[in-house]
Assembly symmetry: C2
Homo-oligomer: 192 residues x 2
DNA sequence: ATCTAAATTTGACTTATGTCAATTGCAAAT
DNA sequence: ATTTGCAATTGACATAAGTCAAATTTAGAT
Protein backbone atom coordinates (compact mmCIF):
# COMPACT_ATOMS: atom_id res chain seq x y z
CA UNK A 1 0.00 0.00 0.00
CA UNK A 2 1.38 3.39 -1.02
CA UNK A 3 1.76 5.76 1.84
CA UNK A 4 -0.77 8.56 2.06
CA UNK A 5 1.65 11.44 2.48
CA UNK A 6 3.47 10.53 -0.72
CA UNK A 7 0.18 10.73 -2.58
CA UNK A 8 -0.73 14.04 -1.00
CA UNK A 9 2.54 15.76 -1.84
CA UNK A 10 3.43 14.00 -5.07
CA UNK A 11 2.51 16.93 -7.32
CA UNK A 12 4.35 19.54 -5.29
CA UNK A 13 7.55 19.17 -7.28
CA UNK A 14 9.62 18.40 -4.18
CA UNK A 15 12.99 16.66 -4.36
CA UNK A 16 13.73 13.68 -2.16
CA UNK A 17 15.30 15.67 0.62
CA UNK A 18 12.45 18.19 0.77
CA UNK A 19 9.92 15.41 0.68
CA UNK A 20 11.63 13.78 3.64
CA UNK A 21 11.68 17.06 5.52
CA UNK A 22 7.99 17.55 4.97
CA UNK A 23 7.07 14.02 5.92
CA UNK A 24 9.11 14.28 9.08
CA UNK A 25 7.15 17.31 10.13
CA UNK A 26 4.04 15.12 10.50
CA UNK A 27 3.21 12.90 13.39
CA UNK A 28 0.38 10.48 13.89
CA UNK A 29 -2.57 11.30 16.11
CA UNK A 30 -5.82 9.55 16.98
CA UNK A 31 -9.28 10.83 17.82
CA UNK A 32 -12.22 8.84 19.10
CA UNK A 33 -15.62 8.95 17.51
CA UNK A 34 -17.31 12.25 18.26
CA UNK A 35 -14.12 13.98 19.43
CA UNK A 36 -13.30 17.38 18.02
CA UNK A 37 -10.15 18.21 16.12
CA UNK A 38 -11.12 21.87 16.27
CA UNK A 39 -13.82 23.53 18.39
CA UNK A 40 -16.00 26.54 17.69
CA UNK A 41 -14.01 29.63 18.64
CA UNK A 42 -10.89 27.51 19.02
CA UNK A 43 -7.73 28.58 17.26
CA UNK A 44 -6.35 26.06 14.83
CA UNK A 45 -3.27 24.43 16.33
CA UNK A 46 -2.09 22.84 13.14
CA UNK A 47 -2.66 21.20 9.86
CA UNK A 48 -4.01 17.66 9.51
CA UNK A 49 -4.21 14.97 6.87
CA UNK A 50 -6.54 12.00 7.12
CA UNK A 51 -4.77 8.67 7.35
CA UNK A 52 -7.81 6.57 8.16
CA UNK A 53 -11.57 6.95 8.56
CA UNK A 54 -13.77 10.03 8.11
CA UNK A 55 -14.46 13.43 9.67
CA UNK A 56 -16.79 16.32 9.07
CA UNK A 57 -16.73 20.03 9.60
CA UNK A 58 -19.95 21.80 10.54
CA UNK A 59 -21.39 25.16 11.48
CA UNK A 60 -24.52 26.30 13.28
CA UNK A 61 -26.66 28.05 10.69
CA UNK A 62 -29.13 30.92 10.96
CA UNK A 63 -31.89 28.54 12.03
CA UNK A 64 -29.68 27.28 14.86
CA UNK A 65 -29.25 23.95 13.15
CA UNK A 66 -26.07 22.04 12.46
CA UNK A 67 -25.02 22.13 8.86
CA UNK A 68 -22.23 19.89 7.66
CA UNK A 69 -20.01 21.97 5.40
CA UNK A 70 -17.38 19.39 4.56
CA UNK A 71 -16.56 15.71 4.78
CA UNK A 72 -12.96 14.53 4.97
CA UNK A 73 -11.75 11.12 3.76
CA UNK A 74 -8.40 9.39 3.48
CA UNK A 75 -5.79 11.73 2.02
CA UNK A 76 -7.83 14.90 2.52
CA UNK A 77 -6.25 17.98 4.02
CA UNK A 78 -8.18 19.01 7.13
CA UNK A 79 -7.95 22.75 7.65
CA UNK A 80 -10.12 25.57 8.84
CA UNK A 81 -8.39 28.03 6.53
CA UNK A 82 -9.13 31.31 8.30
CA UNK A 83 -8.32 29.94 11.72
CA UNK A 84 -5.08 28.34 10.59
CA UNK A 85 -3.65 31.14 8.46
CA UNK A 86 -4.88 34.09 10.42
CA UNK A 87 -4.89 32.40 13.85
CA UNK A 88 -8.42 33.58 14.48
CA UNK A 89 -11.24 31.81 16.36
CA UNK A 90 -12.81 29.15 14.18
CA UNK A 91 -16.33 29.62 12.78
CA UNK A 92 -16.74 25.89 12.36
CA UNK A 93 -16.12 22.72 14.28
CA UNK A 94 -14.23 19.67 12.99
CA UNK A 95 -15.33 16.34 14.36
CA UNK A 96 -14.29 12.71 13.98
CA UNK A 97 -17.18 10.57 12.68
CA UNK A 98 -15.51 7.45 14.00
CA UNK A 99 -12.20 6.31 15.43
CA UNK A 100 -9.83 8.30 13.24
CA UNK A 101 -6.09 8.44 12.52
CA UNK A 102 -4.58 11.73 11.35
CA UNK A 103 -1.18 13.10 10.46
CA UNK A 104 -0.58 16.44 12.09
CA UNK A 105 1.86 19.28 11.55
CA UNK A 106 1.68 21.53 14.61
CA UNK A 107 1.22 25.19 13.78
CA UNK A 108 4.74 26.42 14.68
CA UNK A 109 6.32 23.69 12.56
CA UNK A 110 3.87 24.41 9.75
CA UNK A 111 4.76 28.09 9.84
CA UNK A 112 8.45 27.24 9.81
CA UNK A 113 8.05 25.04 6.73
CA UNK A 114 6.10 27.79 5.05
CA UNK A 115 8.93 30.24 5.56
CA UNK A 116 11.90 28.02 4.83
CA UNK A 117 10.63 25.78 2.05
CA UNK A 118 9.71 27.98 -0.91
CA UNK A 119 7.95 25.03 -2.58
CA UNK A 120 5.79 24.46 0.46
CA UNK A 121 4.09 27.84 0.29
CA UNK A 122 3.62 27.32 -3.45
CA UNK A 123 2.05 23.99 -2.66
CA UNK A 124 -0.19 25.73 -0.16
CA UNK A 125 -1.25 28.35 -2.68
CA UNK A 126 -2.08 25.68 -5.20
CA UNK A 127 -4.09 23.82 -2.62
CA UNK A 128 -6.05 27.00 -1.90
CA UNK A 129 -6.53 27.66 -5.58
CA UNK A 130 -8.04 24.24 -6.05
CA UNK A 131 -10.15 24.63 -2.96
CA UNK A 132 -11.57 27.87 -4.34
CA UNK A 133 -12.32 26.13 -7.60
CA UNK A 134 -14.10 23.27 -5.86
CA UNK A 135 -16.20 25.64 -3.78
CA UNK A 136 -17.27 27.48 -6.91
CA UNK A 137 -18.18 24.21 -8.59
CA UNK A 138 -20.16 23.17 -5.57
CA UNK A 139 -22.08 26.40 -5.71
CA UNK A 140 -22.91 25.78 -9.35
CA UNK A 141 -24.05 22.26 -8.58
CA UNK A 142 -26.15 23.47 -5.70
CA UNK A 143 -27.99 25.81 -8.03
CA UNK A 144 -28.31 23.73 -11.16
CA UNK A 145 -28.68 20.14 -9.96
CA UNK A 146 -31.45 18.44 -8.01
CA UNK A 147 -30.81 16.93 -4.60
CA UNK A 148 -30.85 13.45 -6.17
CA UNK A 149 -28.13 14.41 -8.62
CA UNK A 150 -26.02 15.94 -5.88
CA UNK A 151 -26.43 12.77 -3.85
CA UNK A 152 -25.21 10.61 -6.71
CA UNK A 153 -22.28 12.93 -7.27
CA UNK A 154 -21.25 12.70 -3.62
CA UNK A 155 -21.50 8.93 -3.96
CA UNK A 156 -19.04 8.97 -6.84
CA UNK A 157 -16.60 11.36 -5.24
CA UNK A 158 -16.72 10.15 -1.66
CA UNK A 159 -18.30 6.68 -1.55
CA UNK A 160 -17.03 6.28 2.02
CA UNK A 161 -19.26 9.09 3.14
CA UNK A 162 -22.43 7.71 1.63
CA UNK A 163 -21.74 4.42 3.34
CA UNK A 164 -20.44 5.49 6.69
CA UNK A 165 -21.70 8.97 7.57
CA UNK A 166 -25.06 9.37 9.35
CA UNK A 167 -27.93 10.30 7.06
CA UNK A 168 -28.63 13.57 8.80
CA UNK A 169 -25.12 14.83 8.17
CA UNK A 170 -25.24 13.86 4.54
CA UNK A 171 -28.60 15.58 4.21
CA UNK A 172 -27.43 18.84 5.69
CA UNK A 173 -24.36 18.73 3.50
CA UNK A 174 -26.54 18.29 0.42
CA UNK A 175 -28.75 21.12 1.57
CA UNK A 176 -31.92 19.10 2.18
CA UNK A 177 -33.81 17.77 5.20
CA UNK A 178 -33.34 14.31 6.66
CA UNK A 179 -36.81 13.31 5.60
CA UNK A 180 -36.13 14.26 2.01
CA UNK A 181 -32.88 12.32 1.86
CA UNK A 182 -34.56 9.30 3.39
CA UNK A 183 -37.17 9.34 0.63
CA UNK A 184 -34.53 9.98 -2.00
CA UNK A 185 -32.65 6.87 -0.95
CA UNK A 186 -35.79 4.77 -0.91
CA UNK A 187 -36.82 5.93 -4.36
CA UNK A 188 -33.42 5.50 -5.94
CA UNK A 189 -33.29 1.93 -4.69
CA UNK A 190 -36.74 1.24 -6.09
CA UNK A 191 -35.70 2.37 -9.55
CA UNK A 192 -32.97 -0.26 -9.81
CA UNK B 1 -12.19 61.34 -2.60
CA UNK B 2 -9.82 58.68 -1.29
CA UNK B 3 -8.11 56.71 -3.99
CA UNK B 4 -9.32 53.16 -4.53
CA UNK B 5 -5.93 51.48 -4.47
CA UNK B 6 -5.14 52.90 -1.06
CA UNK B 7 -8.33 51.38 0.26
CA UNK B 8 -7.63 48.02 -1.34
CA UNK B 9 -4.13 47.68 0.05
CA UNK B 10 -4.51 49.53 3.34
CA UNK B 11 -4.57 46.39 5.49
CA UNK B 12 -1.58 44.77 3.85
CA UNK B 13 0.91 46.26 6.28
CA UNK B 14 2.99 47.88 3.55
CA UNK B 15 5.33 50.77 4.21
CA UNK B 16 5.20 53.88 2.06
CA UNK B 17 7.82 52.75 -0.39
CA UNK B 18 6.22 49.34 -0.91
CA UNK B 19 2.83 50.94 -1.29
CA UNK B 20 4.24 53.20 -3.99
CA UNK B 21 5.84 50.25 -5.76
CA UNK B 22 2.56 48.36 -5.75
CA UNK B 23 0.53 51.30 -6.93
CA UNK B 24 2.99 51.98 -9.72
CA UNK B 25 2.54 48.46 -11.00
CA UNK B 26 -1.09 49.27 -11.91
CA UNK B 27 -2.24 51.12 -14.95
CA UNK B 28 -5.68 52.26 -15.96
CA UNK B 29 -7.68 50.46 -18.59
CA UNK B 30 -11.18 50.84 -20.04
CA UNK B 31 -13.70 48.36 -21.36
CA UNK B 32 -16.92 49.10 -23.15
CA UNK B 33 -20.23 47.63 -22.11
CA UNK B 34 -20.34 43.95 -23.04
CA UNK B 35 -16.60 43.63 -23.63
CA UNK B 36 -14.75 40.77 -22.00
CA UNK B 37 -11.87 41.16 -19.60
CA UNK B 38 -11.31 37.40 -19.80
CA UNK B 39 -12.76 34.92 -22.26
CA UNK B 40 -13.68 31.26 -21.83
CA UNK B 41 -10.54 29.21 -22.36
CA UNK B 42 -8.48 32.37 -22.31
CA UNK B 43 -5.47 32.56 -20.04
CA UNK B 44 -5.58 35.33 -17.49
CA UNK B 45 -3.17 38.09 -18.52
CA UNK B 46 -3.25 39.88 -15.24
CA UNK B 47 -4.90 41.08 -12.17
CA UNK B 48 -7.55 43.80 -12.11
CA UNK B 49 -9.21 46.10 -9.62
CA UNK B 50 -12.44 47.95 -10.32
CA UNK B 51 -12.09 51.72 -10.39
CA UNK B 52 -15.54 52.51 -11.75
CA UNK B 53 -18.75 50.72 -12.72
CA UNK B 54 -19.61 47.02 -12.53
CA UNK B 55 -18.68 43.66 -14.08
CA UNK B 56 -19.75 40.07 -13.76
CA UNK B 57 -18.16 36.70 -14.16
CA UNK B 58 -20.24 33.86 -15.54
CA UNK B 59 -20.10 30.23 -16.59
CA UNK B 60 -22.20 28.02 -18.84
CA UNK B 61 -23.85 25.49 -16.58
CA UNK B 62 -24.94 21.89 -17.17
CA UNK B 63 -28.18 23.05 -18.74
CA UNK B 64 -26.22 25.16 -21.20
CA UNK B 65 -27.41 28.31 -19.55
CA UNK B 66 -25.40 31.30 -18.43
CA UNK B 67 -24.99 31.52 -14.71
CA UNK B 68 -23.51 34.62 -13.12
CA UNK B 69 -21.06 33.48 -10.47
CA UNK B 70 -19.81 36.86 -9.30
CA UNK B 71 -20.47 40.58 -9.52
CA UNK B 72 -17.63 43.08 -9.16
CA UNK B 73 -18.05 46.63 -7.89
CA UNK B 74 -15.72 49.51 -7.11
CA UNK B 75 -12.66 48.31 -5.20
CA UNK B 76 -13.22 44.61 -5.92
CA UNK B 77 -10.33 42.45 -7.05
CA UNK B 78 -11.19 40.87 -10.39
CA UNK B 79 -9.43 37.53 -10.76
CA UNK B 80 -10.12 34.12 -12.19
CA UNK B 81 -7.97 32.46 -9.58
CA UNK B 82 -7.09 29.20 -11.33
CA UNK B 83 -6.35 30.89 -14.62
CA UNK B 84 -4.19 33.58 -13.04
CA UNK B 85 -2.16 31.49 -10.63
CA UNK B 86 -1.83 28.35 -12.67
CA UNK B 87 -1.94 30.02 -16.10
CA UNK B 88 -4.59 27.58 -17.25
CA UNK B 89 -7.55 28.21 -19.60
CA UNK B 90 -10.35 29.95 -17.79
CA UNK B 91 -13.59 28.14 -16.96
CA UNK B 92 -15.46 31.39 -16.72
CA UNK B 93 -15.82 34.63 -18.59
CA UNK B 94 -15.51 38.10 -17.12
CA UNK B 95 -17.59 40.80 -18.74
CA UNK B 96 -18.12 44.54 -18.32
CA UNK B 97 -21.77 45.33 -17.56
CA UNK B 98 -21.29 48.91 -18.68
CA UNK B 99 -18.48 51.30 -19.58
CA UNK B 100 -15.89 50.30 -17.01
CA UNK B 101 -12.56 51.60 -15.70
CA UNK B 102 -10.09 49.12 -14.20
CA UNK B 103 -6.62 49.13 -12.74
CA UNK B 104 -4.51 46.35 -14.16
CA UNK B 105 -1.28 44.66 -13.15
CA UNK B 106 -0.08 42.62 -16.13
CA UNK B 107 0.79 39.03 -15.28
CA UNK B 108 4.60 39.30 -15.57
CA UNK B 109 4.65 42.34 -13.31
CA UNK B 110 2.26 40.62 -10.93
CA UNK B 111 4.51 37.59 -10.76
CA UNK B 112 7.53 39.80 -10.16
CA UNK B 113 5.83 41.55 -7.27
CA UNK B 114 4.86 38.21 -5.83
CA UNK B 115 8.46 37.06 -5.83
CA UNK B 116 10.18 40.23 -4.70
CA UNK B 117 7.74 41.70 -2.21
CA UNK B 118 7.27 39.24 0.64
CA UNK B 119 4.28 41.19 1.90
CA UNK B 120 2.57 40.99 -1.46
CA UNK B 121 2.31 37.23 -1.46
CA UNK B 122 1.09 37.40 2.13
CA UNK B 123 -1.50 39.89 1.03
CA UNK B 124 -2.47 37.49 -1.73
CA UNK B 125 -2.82 34.60 0.64
CA UNK B 126 -4.99 36.65 2.95
CA UNK B 127 -7.14 37.67 0.02
CA UNK B 128 -7.59 34.02 -0.92
CA UNK B 129 -8.34 33.10 2.67
CA UNK B 130 -11.10 35.66 2.79
CA UNK B 131 -12.37 34.58 -0.58
CA UNK B 132 -12.65 31.00 0.65
CA UNK B 133 -14.50 32.21 3.70
CA UNK B 134 -16.95 34.22 1.61
CA UNK B 135 -17.62 31.28 -0.69
CA UNK B 136 -18.39 29.08 2.28
CA UNK B 137 -20.73 31.70 3.69
CA UNK B 138 -22.45 32.00 0.36
CA UNK B 139 -22.97 28.26 0.30
CA UNK B 140 -24.56 28.39 3.74
CA UNK B 141 -26.84 31.20 2.69
CA UNK B 142 -27.82 29.38 -0.46
CA UNK B 143 -28.93 26.43 1.62
CA UNK B 144 -30.54 28.11 4.58
CA UNK B 145 -32.10 31.29 3.21
CA UNK B 146 -34.95 31.84 0.81
CA UNK B 147 -34.42 33.59 -2.50
CA UNK B 148 -36.06 36.72 -1.09
CA UNK B 149 -33.62 36.82 1.80
CA UNK B 150 -30.67 36.33 -0.51
CA UNK B 151 -31.94 39.14 -2.68
CA UNK B 152 -32.14 41.52 0.26
CA UNK B 153 -28.66 40.51 1.37
CA UNK B 154 -27.24 41.25 -2.07
CA UNK B 155 -28.98 44.59 -1.91
CA UNK B 156 -27.20 45.43 1.33
CA UNK B 157 -23.79 44.22 0.23
CA UNK B 158 -23.80 45.43 -3.35
CA UNK B 159 -26.56 47.99 -3.84
CA UNK B 160 -24.99 48.98 -7.15
CA UNK B 161 -25.75 45.56 -8.54
CA UNK B 162 -29.41 45.54 -7.59
CA UNK B 163 -29.80 48.91 -9.26
CA UNK B 164 -27.66 48.54 -12.35
CA UNK B 165 -27.31 44.88 -13.31
CA UNK B 166 -29.92 43.27 -15.59
CA UNK B 167 -32.53 41.22 -13.78
CA UNK B 168 -31.61 37.98 -15.49
CA UNK B 169 -28.02 38.16 -14.26
CA UNK B 170 -29.09 38.90 -10.72
CA UNK B 171 -31.53 36.00 -10.89
CA UNK B 172 -28.95 33.47 -12.06
CA UNK B 173 -26.56 34.71 -9.40
CA UNK B 174 -29.20 34.17 -6.72
CA UNK B 175 -29.93 30.74 -8.11
CA UNK B 176 -33.48 31.40 -9.28
CA UNK B 177 -35.21 31.96 -12.62
CA UNK B 178 -35.90 35.38 -14.11
CA UNK B 179 -39.61 34.88 -13.66
CA UNK B 180 -39.21 34.19 -9.96
CA UNK B 181 -37.05 37.24 -9.37
CA UNK B 182 -39.50 39.39 -11.27
CA UNK B 183 -42.31 38.23 -8.96
CA UNK B 184 -40.09 38.62 -5.90
CA UNK B 185 -39.44 42.23 -6.75
CA UNK B 186 -43.09 42.93 -7.39
CA UNK B 187 -44.16 41.35 -4.12
CA UNK B 188 -41.52 43.05 -1.99
CA UNK B 189 -42.59 46.41 -3.34
CA UNK B 190 -46.23 45.62 -2.54
CA UNK B 191 -45.40 44.90 1.07
CA UNK B 192 -44.01 48.37 1.67
C1' DA C 1 -28.83 -8.49 27.60
C1' DT C 2 -31.85 -4.51 28.49
C1' DC C 3 -33.10 -0.03 28.39
C1' DT C 4 -33.11 4.47 26.53
C1' DA C 5 -32.53 8.12 23.54
C1' DA C 6 -31.49 9.31 19.12
C1' DA C 7 -31.81 8.38 14.13
C1' DT C 8 -34.49 7.06 10.42
C1' DT C 9 -38.66 6.14 7.96
C1' DT C 10 -43.19 7.14 6.43
C1' DG C 11 -47.75 9.55 5.53
C1' DA C 12 -50.48 13.67 4.62
C1' DC C 13 -50.23 18.10 3.42
C1' DT C 14 -47.91 22.89 2.38
C1' DT C 15 -44.85 26.03 0.12
C1' DA C 16 -41.28 27.97 -2.77
C1' DT C 17 -39.78 27.99 -7.00
C1' DG C 18 -39.91 26.18 -11.85
C1' DT C 19 -42.09 25.72 -16.47
C1' DC C 20 -44.29 27.28 -20.51
C1' DA C 21 -46.42 30.50 -23.16
C1' DA C 22 -48.38 34.96 -24.11
C1' DT C 23 -47.78 39.98 -23.58
C1' DT C 24 -45.68 44.16 -22.75
C1' DG C 25 -41.67 47.21 -22.21
C1' DC C 26 -37.45 49.02 -23.53
C1' DA C 27 -33.09 50.08 -25.70
C1' DA C 28 -29.85 49.70 -29.56
C1' DA C 29 -29.33 50.26 -34.44
C1' DT C 30 -30.74 52.12 -38.50
C1' DA D 1 -38.31 58.71 -35.44
C1' DT D 2 -38.96 53.81 -36.54
C1' DT D 3 -37.90 49.35 -36.36
C1' DT D 4 -36.27 45.18 -34.27
C1' DG D 5 -35.19 42.08 -30.96
C1' DC D 6 -34.03 41.08 -26.40
C1' DA D 7 -35.64 41.75 -21.43
C1' DA D 8 -39.11 41.72 -18.18
C1' DT D 9 -43.73 40.77 -16.62
C1' DT D 10 -47.67 37.98 -15.85
C1' DG D 11 -50.98 33.95 -15.65
C1' DA D 12 -51.94 29.06 -15.08
C1' DC D 13 -50.18 25.07 -13.69
C1' DA D 14 -46.34 21.50 -12.24
C1' DT D 15 -42.82 19.78 -9.14
C1' DA D 16 -39.12 19.39 -5.69
C1' DA D 17 -38.47 19.78 -1.26
C1' DG D 18 -40.23 21.26 3.45
C1' DT D 19 -43.23 20.60 7.61
C1' DC D 20 -45.21 18.15 11.27
C1' DA D 21 -46.29 14.21 13.63
C1' DA D 22 -46.31 9.31 14.36
C1' DA D 23 -44.08 4.79 13.98
C1' DT D 24 -40.04 2.13 13.75
C1' DT D 25 -35.24 1.02 13.84
C1' DT D 26 -30.61 1.46 15.64
C1' DA D 27 -26.82 2.32 18.60
C1' DG D 28 -24.97 3.50 23.20
C1' DA D 29 -25.02 3.26 28.04
C1' DT D 30 -25.95 0.71 31.92
Amino acid sequence: MTDILTLVYQNGGFNEQEMAEIKNAHHELRFKKGENVLLFSGISDGYYIVKESILRSYVIDFNHEEMTTEFYCQGDVVIEVVSLFQQKPSESCIQALSEVVLYKIPFPVFQQLFLTLRGFSDWGRNWMTEELFKLKQRHIHMITQTAAERYLKLGEEKPDIIQKAPLKHIASHLGIKNTSLSRLRRDSIKKR
